[in-house]
């Protein structure tokens, strides 16, 4: 949807000076060329997406622009003036702010303290809290969120989206002319993403130059004006969004066409008997959950943040068990009160946050993969020299199954890319021989190629007869992967939708309307 105003802005942008420009930037790390002679311009009033596979150099470029790294060669220009930063604070003071995926916030301190950390208003060393809070309100007002967020609120009490707003407020307080965001929507839900997009649109209208890195092409195409593709440290292309199609962008990113975004959905022959049957199950958070999961199918779970999707997974896996209702696995009544019980029942749980819940980052890949296997065996059971309880070939076999790219399984997991780390987690559950897999945001923060790889693997699991429950905030992923869709709202099951339902239908149900509303509403007639 292009309006005249947008077009005008882009055209005039080319006539005026770029807010920030990098010329011939190169950066090397031991053993790898991160950036190779990259030159790029970013204009005011423009939303510019930078895309590329992991290792393409996007993060490195952003870190150089924001002062976290210094380039080996090349120059940075701000408003036509040559600058060089030796510390991120210098860049911030000059108007370049960056928001990382893991926020740079202190959870135990207030919003105001976080915004002004390091430059608190003071009189000779004595903190002026009142002035600080007042200034915080001013900044929050500029974003239009002063009613939502109080300067004295403790950051840990805010939602992820609100915390992100605090980060943006921080940038505004530095009078940022350039705002760089790394995967800004990775941890947000649908409505929050829309709110963020509105906010970013407002920032754009104020003349800010907004740059963001994202793996979610849908969002890139929703909101960006320009798209830059990087690959292997080099700049491939910069194009206007309206001049290209997503498939072309993907082609430039990976250097070849990906045959499909998603593997084909299952057919009725693939679905077997009901493996998991939950009836009227509740705990302190969820109420009256009832559904069935069949062998060989992917049951997608959609819903807004707070609707209870992760809590559902946690209940099924015994982390926060159900307190009432019934659960039947393979026809037998069971009660899952702990993760090890769930694992013995052959349920696997690939969690949302692999860093804090999925991997032990300083341990070798091998040990991470074998964790579930070892955990359920006899504590003092001996293991072989390669770490496996039985087969010498288990680890390489698993590695091949999940397509991990690594030179050695003794490497610590922290040195792998996000996509490969997620594959280690997947391998761990494959090793446990689970026949019910629960995925919570399986491809969050993962590059396009690994994403497709993981989607293929999920479908392969179902072909082997494994039942998959997949929670996701990415509607394209839900629609592309699910044979059936469960929609949660308000910690209850709002309803069930068939495969290939439309976004509007899912969203309407997630926001509390019924399916019939979806059919009748004019929005349903819109483009997907």
């Amino acid at each position: 949807m292009v309006n005249v105003a947008e077009e005008t802005i882009i055209n005039t942008a080319e006539a005026i000076q770029p807010t920030v420009e990098v010329q011939h930037i190169s950066k090397r790390f031991p053993g790898v060329v991160a950036l190779d002679d990259v030159s790029l311009q970013f204009y005011p009033g423009e939303i510019h997406a930078v895309v590329g596979e992991n290792g393409a150099g996007k993060s490195t470029l952003m870190k150089i622009m924001s002062g976290a790294y210094t380039p080996d060669a090349g120059t940075i220009y701000l408003g036509g003036e040559k600058v060089s930063f030796s510390h991120p604070r210098e860049a911030q003071l000059k108007g370049v702010s960056i928001i990382y995926q893991e926020f740079n916030l202190l959870p135990e301190r207030t919003v105001a303290h976080n915004i002004f950390l390091g430059r608190e208003p003071s009189n000779l060393g004595a903190l002026d809290t009142r002035r600080m809070n007042k200034q915080a309100i001013v900044v929050l007002k500029e974003l239009g969120v002063e009613k939502m967020i109080s300067p004295t609120a403790q950051v840990s009490s805010l939602s992820v989206a609100e915390q992100q707003l605090v980060e943006i407020a921080k940038a505004i307080s530095f009078k940022a002319k350039v705002l760089i965001m790394d995967e800004p929507t990775a941890a947000l839900t649908y409505t929050e993403v829309n709110l963020l997009n509105d906010l970013v649109g407002r920032l754009k209208q104020r003349g800010m130059s907004v740059i963001f890195i994202s793996h979610r092409l849908k969002e890139v195409f929703d909101i960006a004006d320009k798209i830059t593709v990087m690959k292997d440290g080099k700049l491939i292309k910069t194009v206007n969004k309206k001049d290209v199609a997503p498939a072309e962008v993907v082609f430039w990113m990976v250097g070849r066409t990906l045959d499909h975004y998603f593997p084909p959905l299952g057919t009725p022959e693939d679905f077997g008997e009901v493996v998991l049957k939950v009836k009227d199950a509740s705990n302190q958070i969820l109420k009256g959950i009832s559904f069935e999961l069949r062998k060989g199918e992917v049951l997608g779970v959609a819903g807004l943040q707070g609707s209870g999707r992760t809590e559902l997974a946690q209940a099924l896996f015994g982390v926060v068990p159900f307190k009432s209702g019934t659960m039947e696995l393979h026809g037998k009544a069971i009660a899952i009160k702990s993760p090890s019980r769930a694992i013995r029942h052959k349920i696997g749980f690939v969690t949302e946050d692999r860093k804090s819940e999925g991997i032990a980052s300083r341990q070798p890949i091998r040990d991470n993969m074998l964790l579930t296997v070892r955990a359920v065996r006899f504590l003092f059971g001996l293991i072989l020299k390669d770490g496996t309880p039985s087969s010498r070939r288990l680890v390489p076999m698993l590695g091949k199954q999940v397509d991990i790219r690594t030179d050695s399984f003794d490497r610590e997991v922290q040195y792998l890319s996000g996509g490969n780390q997620q594959k280690v987690v997947l391998a761990k559950w494959l090793a446990s021989d689970a026949d019910v897999f629960i995925f919570d945001e399986p491809t969050r923060g993962i590059d396009v190629e690994s994403k497709a790889s993981i989607h293929d693997m999920i479908r392969d699991l179902t072909k082997k007869g494994i039942a998959v429950l997949m929670i996701s905030s990415e509607l394209p992923e839900i629609i592309g992967m699910s044979d059936r869709i469960l929609v949660m709202a308000d910690r209850q099951l709002a309803g069930e939708l068939p495969a290939q339902s439309r976004e509007q239908e899912i969203m309407l149900m997630a926001t509390g309307h019924s399916k019939d509303d979806a059919a009748e509403s004019p929005a349903a007639a819109g483009v997907n």
Partner: protein, 337 residues
Amino acid sequence: MTTATATSHNELSKALGYIGVWIKKIPPVYFFLILVFLAGGILDQVLADGQIFKNPLIMQNIVVRSVALGIVAVGQSLVIIGASIDLSVAYTISITAVMSSYIMQGDPAKVPTAIIAVFIIGAAIGIVNGVAITKLKVNPFIATLGTSLIIKGIINATFSNYTGSVPKSFEYFGYGTIGPIPVSIIILFLTVTVGWVLLARTKFGAHLYGVGGNAEVARLSGVRTDRVLIGAHIICSMTAVLAGLFLVSQMRSGAPWVGPNGVYDLNSIATTVIGGTALSGGKGGVWSTLGGVLIFGVLETLFNQLGVNPYLKTVFQGAIIVMAVASYTIRSKKEAA
């Protein structure tokens, strides 16, 4: 319901609301302190015919007993908020006691020299701790442990018994009163207040919370994390010096075993944690630590008055430390380390 009763209902609930807000602000440790008091009162009745708490000086006794630990616990709290720790305070107290007494030699004219000297020593210890932790990147546990061994060595090499003496004028610190209130208690409260002001009302304090909460975030925000942490360690060592001066003014002569005897290192850490400040840093305060210190003070006094065997006292101390902390942690959902 008539309007008259309606408004008085309203006012009552408003008043209760305000009280509620105020109660929530009191660190939970003080409720624990009240419990300990009550328990002590019961024990008193049962074992000592209620004699202990009948003594008007008992309260004063409790607080005075808490002065040394309280002063050093303030410093320790600052360091712990910065996600560090200081195991060298016990020996810092010892060296202060010994050196100050040695320099004074009972001569009032030498008092200022002695005080300046020990504060310089304290600052030096703090600097060494801070530099080892920030520049040499040694784990705080090990660094301050190492420093304590160094100080221990220096003390034992030069002194082996009571050394020198404290002039009567200096005993004012330990025994004097301003009006009805002992000077030592005033100094304690001053120290806690200064600690509080530093934490809540200065840039330094805001930065210290940042360094303890997430040093990387603080660094990226331009906070000079090294300087802040070194500063915290210097302050901590200085509080140890102050505590040492108090102890020596009470004892009238300094002895090398003063610090380790009072277990000031582990006790200052324990009272900080009991007060509610987490070892992981980034949050907490000093008034809550004072609560923990007072709990220890009550127990000390009680045990002494009841004539409890000193070894059993140690046993109870250990058990109480664990139980007090457990009362907080038992409710947490996360696994401890």
